[in-house]
């Protein structure tokens, strides 16, 4: 079972746009210490503010997707450029996991 990571560099308070807020409206809020989401059906608890890319790795999955010729692939650039870390998040296929912040009860599907 994946463990909650000690992650001293994660910000305690950070800027996030609330899911329901109108575009562009800022919500400064103090986040909970950790969130639990599901990766391929398994529960994973990650530090608040962690990206989905980290949650997938913490779930023990190294193959985020399969390439067009069937090779296993995982994150390369870590910054939204390469599209190698794409997974399905809450039904949205081809989401770049390195740019989506984990939310409680999020459902993540990989090809792993």
């Amino acid at each position: 079972m994946p463990q909650v990571a000690n992650s001293p560099h994660m910000p305690v308070a950070s800027v996030t746009v609330s899911c329901n807020s109108r575009f562009g409206v800022l919500i400064w809020r103090r986040m909970a210490d950790s969130v639990t989401l599901s990766v391929d059906g398994a529960a994973v608890t990650v530090p608040a503010g962690a990206m989905v890319s980290a949650a997938v790795a913490m779930a023990g999955v190294s193959q985020y997707r399969r390439s067009v010729s069937g090779e296993p692939r995982g994150p390369l650039c870590g910054m939204g450029i390469c599209f190698e870390c794409r997974v399905t998040i809450d039904g949205r296929a081809h989401s770049r996991s390195c740019q989506v912040v984990c939310q409680s009860r999020m459902e993540v599907r990989t090809d792993g």
């Binding site: 913490m58 390439s67 090779e71 296993p72 995982g74 994150p75 390369l76 650039c77 870590g78 450029i81």
Partner: protein
């Protein structure tokens, strides 16, 4: 998501974008700052660095509107951007536009580079800062540039077993560079002090990565031909940085050899469109901040304050030129990919298929190289170095977008 209009729109919230947004807002302009990441700070200040917190505070004080997770995928009409977020889309209008789109790592293909856990140097650091626990893992840091030291230091500080740092540049060039910039010498020594016990091997580069379903070991070679294999869990490998110029190209901005072409006020060949930071050429943090400030003042209508920064800008540019010379990629690296090595990771196109073509356009048409989701952002940097090919035209959407966003 509602459409909106601003006097100044800044694309990118790294150092250059933050500086530009703050200065334009100080000039009394209504400013919005967009970034595709959920937090401001860009790559260098990922994970809420102290410096970024100060700039973010200033931006907030001056009423800069911050749009998180916002990707610009098209410029459908003059002075209007098409923007998509994780769950919505809108149009953002601007009087002036400042492009601070930053840079990405240059990746070079070698056998095994597509294995999971082979990442960019900045890529592994970004993933670590995104919450991935790496304590106790073994990592090899390789490629080229000062970023390797910074990444190795970061990993070490987070209890990663950094086996070695492989820098392709020769020792003589690195030493000459460090000695000619005393302030950087101090920085380099401080970094090195945090890396005691980690070999920094110059004239050395990875030639292959091995593993079944993920990375298990990497084979390295020195310029004198010595080759050995190092067992590791992660390979953090980047061969310098290349500017993100796709949006500027879509907007019709002229390119220089280094990146987006700009005048001394950071204005591009398109009136009212400015570019600042790594997008105009790789120059590092200090240059990005100054360029951002100049662009912000210029777009904000205060050219005199911009002019006061020209001297600082020129001095940082000299440093950038020395950096480029020192870490120029050696010719040996052109032999890294074997004929069977995948060059385009999106479409799994091999080196032999790409090499059979005579230019980038032909490769795209005949092999689909560069035609996948990343649109050549990864293999383009490799093709540029390996074959001397450059992207000739950029078409919308500059990023894959949802049909709903496109059909507006």
């Amino acid at each position: 998501m509602a459409d909106c209009d601003y006097d100044v729109v800044v694309v990118g919230a790294g150092p250059a974008g933050l500086a530009a947004a703050c200065r334009a807002a100080e000039c009394g302009r209504r400013v919005a700052m967009l970034d595709d990441n959920p937090q401001p700070g860009g790559q260098i200040w990922r994970g809420a660095a102290k410096e970024s917190t100060q700039w973010v505070r200033t931006a907030k004080q001056h009423g800069v509107e911050w749009m998180a997770g916002a990707r610009v995928f098209d410029a459908p009409e003059p002075q209007r951007l098409a923007v998509e977020t994780f769950d919505g889309e809108c149009r953002v209008g601007y009087g002036s536009l400042i492009l601070a789109t930053g840079a990405r790592e240059r990746f070079l293909p070698f056998p095994g580079w597509t294995l999971p856990n082979v990442m960019g140097a900045g890529g592994l650091q970004a993933l670590a800062k995104s919450g991935l626990p790496l304590a106790g893992k073994r990592a090899v840091v390789a490629g080229s540039g000062p970023l390797l030291l910074a990444v190795a230091r970061y990993l070490r500080a987070h209890d990663v077993d950094v086996r070695l740092i492989a820098e392709q540049a020769p020792q003589s060039a690195v030493v000459r560079f460090v000695l000619s910039y005393p302030r950087k010498l101090v920085q380099a020594l401080t970094l090195r002090a945090g890396l005691i016990g980690v070999p920094y091997i110059t004239s050395c580069w990875p030639v292959s990565a091995q593993g079944r379903e993920k990375l298990e070991s990497v084979t390295l070679r020195r310029a004198d031909g010595r080759t050995w294999t190092e067992a590791c869990d992660y390979l953090a490998c980047g061969f310098g940085l290349i500017p993100n110029v796709e949006l500027a190209a879509l907007l019709g901005c002229r390119m220089s050899k280094a990146g987006v072409e700009v005048d001394e006020f950071q204005e591009t060949s398109e009136a009212g469109i400015f570019a600042a930071g790594e997008a105009t050429g790789i120059g590092g943090l200090e240059l990005s901040l100054v360029e951002g400030e100049i662009a912000g003042y210029a777009a904000g209508g205060n050219p005199d304050r911009a002019k006061a920064l020209f001297a600082a800008c020129a001095s940082h540019r000299r440093f950038a030129a020395a950096l480029e010379k020192t870490f120029a990629l050696r010719d040996d690296l052109r032999n890294l990919p074997l004929p069977s090595t995948i060059v385009c990771r999106c479409e799994d196109v091999t080196m032999e298929r790409v090499r059979a073509c005579s230019n980038w356009r032909e490769a795209k048409l005949h092999t689909r190289c560069g035609m996948g989701p990343c649109q050549g952002r990864i293999c383009g940097g490799a093709a540029d170095f390996l074959l001397g090919w450059r992207e000739e035209s950029v078409r919308p959407p500059v990023l894959p977008a949802r049909v709903r966003s496109l059909s507006r």
